[in-house]
Every structure is written in structure tokens, then in C-alpha cells.
């Protein structure tokens, strides 16, 4: 496929105004599916959590999962939405082999939650209020695997496999109103918005919120228009952008791609586009028009949902604090500077650090490990930090071993490598790899004396008060000990030797 031409990002923003809109699908972590009693579990053998209902067998009928409604209302409330007094499900009719009934049961013109808002902080610290149009319930489709083609797409595949375990898993789709005025912060704002949604649903406990598993999926609508033009530009919808970094990149890419086309006098085609993480580009999917005819009509097999006011208020009372308030509280609690804190938020590490602190680490140690070494390794492996196989508890344990003098920073990094390699918990790795700090003064003194014997003038310099001369000795001793010595203790011992003790 020919690489598409892009306009320079800054130049694009000088000429065009960006309008984005985001649709986020959140998979709820209810025990059972939306309309049947099948288990809602990720990763089971294909087609083991299925029944006549989610397989769309003749005669089967849906029965609404009350917990899914409860969780959807919670999401609506957390997004400051109105909750509908009554809401019907509708059928969205289209044929696709992953859709058992060949219609999706979804809320159409009567979403459970509507007219909400959420404050999102852009990278510059500027706060945008994103208006939420609606949050509605629907069921997920099955999962298709296309076999035999080179692309893994349906085109060119020899055959396709369908796993209906995911069919009927409850989803909440959260749709924003168009977001204007984000300017060059639009890509980061899009990512920050999804991050906030993720944080909300995770803190509500209604979703596992793992993007790599598709628990949170984002479709990004992007359009641009020449500055000063009132009419909105033609939008594209980039589907299933499934990491925060990709969202940012995909939005940026679309801005640059559309800007190039418009500057050439080429019209933007309203279409679905696919994001390719490997080449950092979107490609054309199927053309989409507003006339896509899903023949919606009210689902006759279900009665309207009518949550009582009392129930809604009970649910409201159980809501955790809002992300913005939580952030403020945590920043104060941890005593981070503006810069440190924004770094944590932008790296999407709030929960990890919070959990690490809760597991006993100091806030600074938690921050240092997550935004430092772990982030560095994740980056070098091209992974999300959240995908790294290490728990906050393990990080807190490593930090604890340093505090108690059992590990040096260098040894601790080695322990971290061991944890990430799946060798076990930090304490296990310390003993398995023999990484304990040598705290036996006898062994240290032996090494110090050996070094001092090679550098006789050093002792004299230290006695003269030139303490920095000790540095060379410490370095040599550390090297001789293979790093497994506590540098501070070595320094103490060197100074003791110099003062003739």
C-alpha cells in the first residue's frame, strides 16, 4: 500500500481547526452476559461460554442482566449524566457472521444516560470540559479470526473462525459531543479523555478496563476545517484504536492526512479507517454514510428499563470520588510537584503509584520506579506500562528492600529484571540470584585494605580533609565486590581507616 502523504503537523494546525469526537466502548465485568446466564470470562476455550440465546438459536429470548444496568447507571452518574426514567432497547439489524442473531440488541434513541460532562486536563494543564452526548448499553459481538490470508483480515482469508464467548458481553458505549478548540492538544486530549474514562470505570469496579484485552476500545472521529469556516469538515472514524498511545498517534495522523488532502483540493471521504500500530498509519476501511440503514426498531422481546429515582440515588451515593478530585487529593497526599504529578498522570500511572504507596512504598520511591526504570523498559519493549508483568506490591517490596539496606539501587534494578522475567517475587529473586548486599564488615574491610594498599597516597589526602578522594576507593571497592556492597557503608569504613580507627 502506498504511503499516504501527510502535512507537517504544526503547519496543519496553522491552517485548520480540528474537531474530534470519541466513542468509547467499555466492556463490563459482570459475572454473566448481558442477556443470558453465560459466564463473562476472558480467555476461555472458544465457544465454551455459549447458550441458545447468545448463539441466536431459533426461539431463544433475551433476559436483561440487572447488574449490567446497575453498572451502566453508575457510569452515567460518574459522567454527570441524566439517567433516563425509562429506556427501551432496540434492534440494530445487519448481517455479519460474528453477530449471532444478525441484529445487535442496543439502546438507540433511548440511552440509559445522556447529557453529561467530564473535565479533562490537556498536556499544557489547560482543562477542557468534554460534553458527553450519551452512554448506552449494548451487547458485544463474537470474535472472528480470519485464517489463511496474509493480512488477518476477512479479505483474502481462506476461512474464518467465530468465537461466541464474547457474544452478548455487556458493553457501555460512551459518546462525546464534538470537541472543538483543542488545537494542537487534540491528540493528547483524546488520549487523556480515554484515560479518564478508563480510570472512572476501573475505580467504579464495573470493568477490568484493560485496553490490551479490548475491555476499553476507542473509535476516534476526526474532522478538520479551514480556520474561520463554520461548516464542519467531513469526518473519518478510526476504529478500534486500542492503546492510549495509538489514540494520540491516530488522531495526529488523521489531522495530518486530512490537511494534506484538503491542501491539494482533494475531498475527504466519509469512511471508517483502521489504525495500524506497526506502520503508524490509518488505512481506508469501508465507506460510511449517514444513510447506513440498520433498520432500528424497539426490541419487542424486552420491556423498557425503568430505574426508580430511589435506586439511582442509592447508586449515586456509592460513587467513588471524581478523577479530578482524586488527583488533587493524591497530589497533596504524595507531595509531588506540578511537574512530577503531571508526568505521573500523562504516563497513566496514577493507579499503579497509588497501589504501590498503599503497599508500603514512599510516594517518591513509587514514582521513581514506575516513571523511571519500569517505564524505560516498557518503552524499549514497545509496550504499555500497564502490560508489564509486575504488580504494585512487587514494586513496593523492591523499594522496601532498598530502604532496609538489603539492596542497592543497582541490585534492585537487577531484581526488577528478574520480576519482569517471571522469576518470582523480589525476595525469591534476591535469594535465587544471590543479590544480597554484603553487610559483613570483615569482607568489606578486606577489600578496602586491598585497594588502599594499591593507592597509599589516598589515606593521606583523606586525612588532609580531601574527602572526595575517598570516591575513587569506594568505586574500586564496589567494583571488586561486584556491586553487592552498600556504598554508604564502604564510605564509612574508608573514613574510619583513614582516621586510624
Amino acid at each position: 500500500m502506498a504511503k499516504e502523504q501527510l502535512m507537517d503537523y504544526q503547519k496543519a494546525l496553522e491552517t485548520y481547526e480540528v474537531v474530534i469526537g470519541l466513542e468509547v466502548h467499555v466492556e463490563l465485568n459482570t459475572n454473566t452476559k448481558m442477556f443470558c446466564g453465560c459466564a463473562n470470562v476472558f480467555g476461555d476455550e472458544p465457544n465454551t461460554n455459549v447458550c441458545p440465546n447468545c448463539l441466536g438459536f431459533p426461539g431463544a429470548m433475551p433476559a436483561v442482566n440487572g447488574k449490567a444496568i446497575e453498572n451502566s447507571i453508575k457510569i452515567g452518574l460518574a459522567l454527570d449524566c441524566e439517567i433516563a426514567a425509562t429506556g427501551r432497547f432496540a434492534r440494530k439489524n445487519y448481517f455479519y457472521p460474528d453477530l449471532a442473531k444478525n441484529f445487535q440488541t442496543s439502546q438507540y434513541d433511548e440511552p440509559i444516560a445522556f447529557e453529561g460532562k467530564i473535565d479533562i486536563e490537556g498536556p499544557s494543564g489547560k482543562v477542557f470540559t468534554v460534553d458527553i452526548e450519551r452512554a448506552h448499553m449494548e451487547e458485544d459481538a463474537g470474535k472472528l479470526t480470519h485464517v489463511g490470508g496474509s493480512t488477518g483480515r476477512i479479505q483474502g482469508a481462506e476461512y474464518s473462525l467465530v468465537d461466541f464467548n464474547r457474544a452478548g458481553v455487556p458493553l457501555v458505549e460512551i459518546v462525546t459531543k464534538p470537541i472543538y478548540g483543542a488545537g494542537d492538544e487534540a491528540p493528547e486530549l483524546a488520549a487523556a479523555y480515554v484515560r479518564s474514562i478508563r480510570e472512572i470505570v476501573k475505580n467504579l469496579g464495573v470493568s477490568d478496563a484493560r485496553m490490551e484485552r479490548g475491555n476499553v476500545r476507542c473509535d476516534a472521529n476526526v474532522s478538520i476545517r479551514p480556520k474561520g469556516q463554520e461548516k464542519l469538515g467531513t469526518r473519518t472514524e478510526t476504529k478500534n484504536v486500542n492503546s492510549l498511545r495509538s489514540i494520540e498517534k491516530a488522531v495526529k495522523y488523521e489531522i495530518q492526512r486530512q490537511a494534506h488532502l484538503l491542501s491539494q483540493g482533494t475531498a475527504i471521504i466519509q469512511e471508517t479507517r483502521h489504525w495500524h500500530e506497526d506502520r503508524g498509519a490509518t488505512s481506508s476501511g469501508r465507506p460510511k454514510s449517514d444513510a447506513d440503514d440498520y433498520r432500528y426498531f424497539p426490541e419487542p422481546d424486552l420491556v423498557p428499563i425503568q430505574p426508580s429515582k430511589e435506586w439511582i440515588e442509592q447508586l449515586r451515593a456509592t460513587l467513588p470520588e471524581k478523577p479530578a478530585i482524586r488527583r488533587k487529593r493524591l497530589q497533596e497526599l504524595w507531595g509531588f510537584s506540578e511537574l512530577e504529578f503531571r508526568d505521573v498522570v500523562n504516563s497513566d500511572l496514577l493507579d499503579e503509584i497509588d497501589d504501590t504507596v498503599k503497599a508500603g512504598a514512599t510516594p517518591q520511591a513509587a514514582r521513581k520506579w514506575w516513571t523511571g526504570e519500569i517505564a524505560r523498559i516498557a518503552n524499549s519493549e514497545d509496550k504499555e506500562i500497564s502490560e508489564m508483568p509486575i504488580t504494585p506490591k512487587q514494586v513496593a517490596e523492591i523499594a522496601g528492600l532498598i530502604d532496609s539496606g538489603k539492596l542497592t539501587d543497582r541490585l534492585a534494578r537487577e531484581v526488577l529484571t528478574g520480576v519482569l522475567a517471571g522469576e518470582g517475587d523480589p525476595a525469591e529473586i534476591v535469594s535465587k540470584r544471590g543479590l544480597e548486599v554484603v553487610s559483613d564488615d570483615g569482607a568489606l574491610l578486606e577489600a578496602i585494605d586491598k585497594v588502599l594498599a594499591e593507592q597509599p597516597d589516598v589515606l593521606e589526602k583523606i586525612r588532609e580533609g580531601k574527602l572526595q578522594a575517598a570516591g575513587a576507593v569506594i568505586g574500586a571497592v564496589m567494583k571488586a565486590m561486584g556491586g553487592s556492597a552498600d556504598a554508604a557503608r564502604v564510605r564509612e569504613l574508608v573514613i574510619q581507616r583513614a582516621s586510624g580507627e
Binding site: C51, P52, L55, G56, F57, P58, G59, A60, M61, P62, A63, V64, R91, N93, F95, P97, A100, K101, N102, F103, I154, S160, V162, A291, D293, R295, Y296, F297, P300, D301, L302, V303
Partner: protein, 499 residues
């Protein structure tokens, strides 16, 4: 009187007193099926072994003194649009030929819990689309009163089975009259309960907001006992009523209509109705009046739009309900010519698997739901539905039950209306409003039309949830007629010559 010509309520008493065994009854029933079914085509599948095994089991339980339900041991026929584990279920369609469901419809579960041996699955118009069984992919059923005529549809398999003593009772489903019309033209009793009174779980849906399962029987008491056996709330059907509607068996013991107000629906009498039908209808009313009922005239002007509205709503829902027949997970799969894509396989399967009436309605329904047409068609039809409900509510302020002939004519000849879908649709003019409004309706035989000596049915309608009223008035009228005739309706039936 042979054993199998007796009504279910009598047979139930004989089983309870151990005068007969279920095996004895079921064997005789199966023997008659083996004799008649090859000609009449009431059953698509006859389940000899299953029925006899169930009969044997219920006899053993009774011998042990186990407490059994009222209908335990009474064999029953089940319409082929209800799913049955281990028994082929086709809904009269080629697209489901050979399909063995992995689950039972709730009604089937109830039949099994009541220990009623299942004789087999009865013929029907494909996916219940039709009024004659001529749309069945497996050929029409014949009317035992005149083998050249239809036993009605879509439930002509059940109505012909019950009226030819191939089953004492049967299960039907009624979307626009599919229980009541076949009952009317075969001299049997058919009831469409209030929407939601009987669980639809496992009923292969036609129009989900209209479909209702109900009893087919040879008298009112039998129908009442069967409705009691299959009714009740079901968590698997979100539209099933939370509350019980009371005992229909008790209601069917009623013996008085004194003070009962009967509303004659002006729009469903007179012009357009066969003279012999109107005559029998009037005679039945006269009997009720003589017994102390009061007759008033009511008007439901919106009924003139009922058929139009019905033929938008039902095909619309059907077009969506039938989308699942795509060859991916069950049923027929037809490979297209040339390279296969999933769309081509789906299209080839649906082209080969669906009959012309099903295709007609899928196209109608798809069109009615299309964006730009939705408001004009589906939207307007829903408004008509509301108007019909309003008209009926007003009528029920004046009357306890509403009456009309069940159908404009007696059984028509097979083939007579097959080329004229509109004429076929008009046949349901009296039965459709009950489905649109969700209210219960009963068709009861009131004798033979003098022009053709074929059965005529009267239809009673009651307000939603007041199914008992139908059984109360039905039971009285049935007794009045039998007293007048000095025999039962079925005794009028001609002897069947099937060779």
C-alpha cells in the same frame, strides 16, 4: 364412543381412576395417527417411542401412588415452532430441515413436567406465515370435515389433529389468528391467551410483539386445563406477565351468564360475512340472551386499519427475527456457485431455504423498517395499534366480552386463495385486533353453516388478563349448544374415509 374420541378432561378422570392406562390411550392415539396422518398430514414428526416411554413412566408413577398433575398421562401434539430437545423442529420450513434443538421451549418443559406424552410435532405454514398451511414446506394439512379444504392456518396441523382424533389436545401459537381461525374451521376450541400469559421462550418467533402460545382442544374445559398447565411467569421471557391469571379450569365450571354484557362489534358483522356464518353467530347470541346475557352494540372504527397495521408490524418483526437463519450456526447450508464468501453462502441458503411467502414478508418488513420509510409505515402502524387499544378499552367499558364470528367464511378450498395473498390476509380481519392489543380471544364452534355443512366459530374477546371471562362464557354457550343439539360439535363430523 372410542377412547380417543373422548375429551381430555374425561380421559384424565379415567386415568386418575386407573380405568385406563396412559400406555393404552397413547398406543390407540398413535395407531390412529399412523392411519390418518399419511393422508391428512397433521404431523411433520410423530414421536412413537418418546410418547410411549413417557406414557409408561407416568403409569408407573401413578401405580406408585405419586401425586400427578390433572393432565398427567394425556398425550398431546405440539406445533412445530416450539423447540424440543431430540425432536426435529422445522417451523414448517426447509431452512430448518433436520434441526434438532439443544433446548426445550418453556411450554414443552411444562408439558413434560405435567407428564403429558408428546405425540409429535404438527404441521404449520412456514414460520407461521399463512392461514391455510399451504405455505408449509412439507405440504398442506387437510380439513377432516372436507379433505379438499384447509384446516386453517397457520396451526392447521394442530387443528386437523385434534378434530380428527389424532390428539385429544394440542399446542398452537397465534400471531394474527393462527389458533382461532383453524379452530373455527375445524369445529374445535382455540384460545389465544393474554399476551404474556404463556411464556414464548422457545417459540420460533414470527412477530414477537404479537405471538402468543395457547391451547387447541375439543371443548372448553380441555382448553382451560391445558392453559392452566402451560401458563405462568417465566424469567426466560421478559414479556411474560409477573402475576397469575387464576384458574381457567375453575372458570370453565361456570354455568351462568346472567347479567353478562356482550358487545357485538359493529365492524365485524354483516357485510363480507358468509350468510351461514352470520346465521349461526346470531343463533349463538340468541341462546346467550335467552340465558340472561345482555347484548349491546359497540364500535371499533380503528379496526378498518388493523390488517394494514398488522401487515407492517408482523413482517417488520419477522424480517429481523428471521435474520438468524444464515447457515452459520445451525440449519440448512447451501453453497453458492463459484467462489464462496460468507455473504454468498448466506444469500444462497436463504434463497433456497425460505418459501415465497416468507420472502415476501421479509421484503415487506425490511422495507417498512427502512430509514425514510419507518415513520410512514412502522411508525404509523404502531399508532394504529394504540388506536385499536383505545377503541377496545372504550368497548370494554360497555361490555364484559366482545363477540364476532371468528372468520368471515367457513373453510375455504385448498388452492383457492394461494395466488391472492391479499384475500388470504383479509381472512384474519376478526382475529388480528386481539393480537395488536394483546388481549385474549377464544374461538368456539357454534354449529355448521347451512350452505356447506362446515363448522362456524364464534370469537369472544376479553380485556387483557381476563382470560377467565372467555372460559366462563364459552363454557355456558357450549352447554347451551350441546343441549340444543343433544350432542357435541364433534358428533356432527363426517366419517373420515382416508383410503
Amino acid at each position: 364412543m372410542s377412547l380417543i374420541s373422548r375429551p381430555a378432561s374425561e380421559l384424565a378422570a379415567m386415568l386418575q381412576s386407573k380405568e385406563i392406562s396412559s400406555v393404552e390411550l397413547t398406543s390407540q392415539q398413535l395407531a390412529n395417527i399412523d392411519k390418518l396422518n399419511p393422508k391428512i398430514n397433521s404431523y411433520l414428526t410423530v414421536t412413537h417411542e418418546i410418547a410411549l416411554a413417557q406414557a409408561k413412566q407416568v403409569d408407573e408413577l401413578r401405580a406408585k401412588g405419586e401425586k400427578l398433575s390433572a393432565l398427567a398421562g394425556i398425550p398431546i401434539a405440539v406445533k412445530d415452532n416450539l423447540t424440543t430437545i431430540a425432536i426435529e423442529t422445522t417451523a414448517g420450513s426447509k431452512i430448518l430441515k433436520g434441526w434438532i434443538p439443544p433446548y426445550n421451549a418453556t411450554v414443552v418443559e411444562k408439558i413434560l413436567a405435567n407428564r403429558m406424552p408428546i405425540l409429535g410435532k404438527t404441521n404449520m405454514d412456514e414460520f407461521a406465515m399463512g392461514s391455510s398451511t399451504e405455505n408449509s414446506a412439507y405440504g398442506p394439512s387437510l380439513n377432516p370435515w372436507d379433505l379438499s379444504r384447509t384446516p386453517g392456518g397457520s396451526g392447521g396441523g394442530s387443528s386437523s389433529a385434534v378434530s380428527s382424533m389424532q390428539a385429544p389436545i394440542a399446542i398452537g401459537s397465534d400471531t394474527g389468528g393462527s389458533i382461532r381461525f383453524p379452530a373455527a374451521v375445524t369445529g374445535t376450541v382455540g384460545v389465544k391467551p393474554t399476551y404474556g400469559a404463556v411464556s414464548r421462550y422457545g417459540l420460533i418467533a414470527l412477530g414477537s410483539s404479537l405471538d402468543q402460545i395457547g391451547p387447541v382442544a375439543r371443548n372448553v374445559m380441555d382448553a382451560a386445563m391445558l392453559q392452566d398447565a402451560i401458563a405462568g411467569h417465566d424469567d426466560m421471557d421478559a414479556t411474560s406477565l409477573p402475576e397469575s391469571l387464576g384458574s381457567m379450569t375453575e372458570a370453565a365450571k361456570n354455568d351462568s351468564v346472567k347479567g353478562l354484557k356482550i358487545g357485538i362489534i359493529k365492524e365485524l358483522t354483516g357485510e363480507g360475512f358468509q350468510a351461514g356464518v352470520s346465521e349461526r353467530f346470531q343463533e349463538a347470541l340468541d341462546l346467550l340472551v335467552a340465558a340472561g346475557a345482555e347484548v349491546v352494540e359497540v364500535s371499533c372504527p380503528s379496526f378498518q386499519y388493523a390488517i394494514a397495521a398488522y401487515y407492517l408490524i408482523q413482517p417488520a418483526e419477522a424480517s429481523s427475527n428471521l435474520a438468524r437463519f444464515d447457515s452459520v450456526r445451525f440449519g440448512l447450508r447451501v453453497m453458492p456457485e463459484g467462489p464462496a464468501t460468507v455473504e454468498k453462502v448466506m444469500a444462497a441458503t436463504r434463497e433456497a431455504g425460505f418459501g415465497p411467502e416468507v420472502k415476501r414478508r421479509i421484503i415487506l418488513g425490511t422495507y417498512a423498517l427502512s430509514s425514510g420509510y419507518y415513520d410512514a409505515y412502522y411508525g404509523s402502524a404502531q399508532k394504529v395499534r394504540t388506536l385499536i387499544q383505545v377503541d377496545l378499552a372504550k368497548a370494554f367499558e360497555k361490555a364484559d366480552v366482545l363477540v364476532s364470528p371468528t372468520a368471515p367464511t367457513t373453510a375455504f378450498k385448498l388452492g383457492e386463495k394461494q395466488e391472492d395473498p391479499l384475500a388470504m390476509y383479509l381472512n384474519d380481519i376478526a382475529t388480528i385486533p386481539a393480537n395488536l392489543a394483546g388481549i385474549p380471544g377464544m374461538s368456539l364452534p357454534v354449529g355448521l353453516a347451512k350452505e356447506d355443512n362446515l363448522p362456524v366459530g364464534i370469537q369472544f374477546l376479553a380485556p387483557a388478563r381476563e382470560d377467565a371471562t372467555l372460559y366462563k362464557v364459552g363454557a355456558v354457550l357450549e352447554k347451551l349448544l350441546e343441549n340444543k343439539w343433544t350432542k357435541s360439535m364433534m358428533d356432527f363430523a363426517p366419517e373420515l374415509k382416508v383410503n
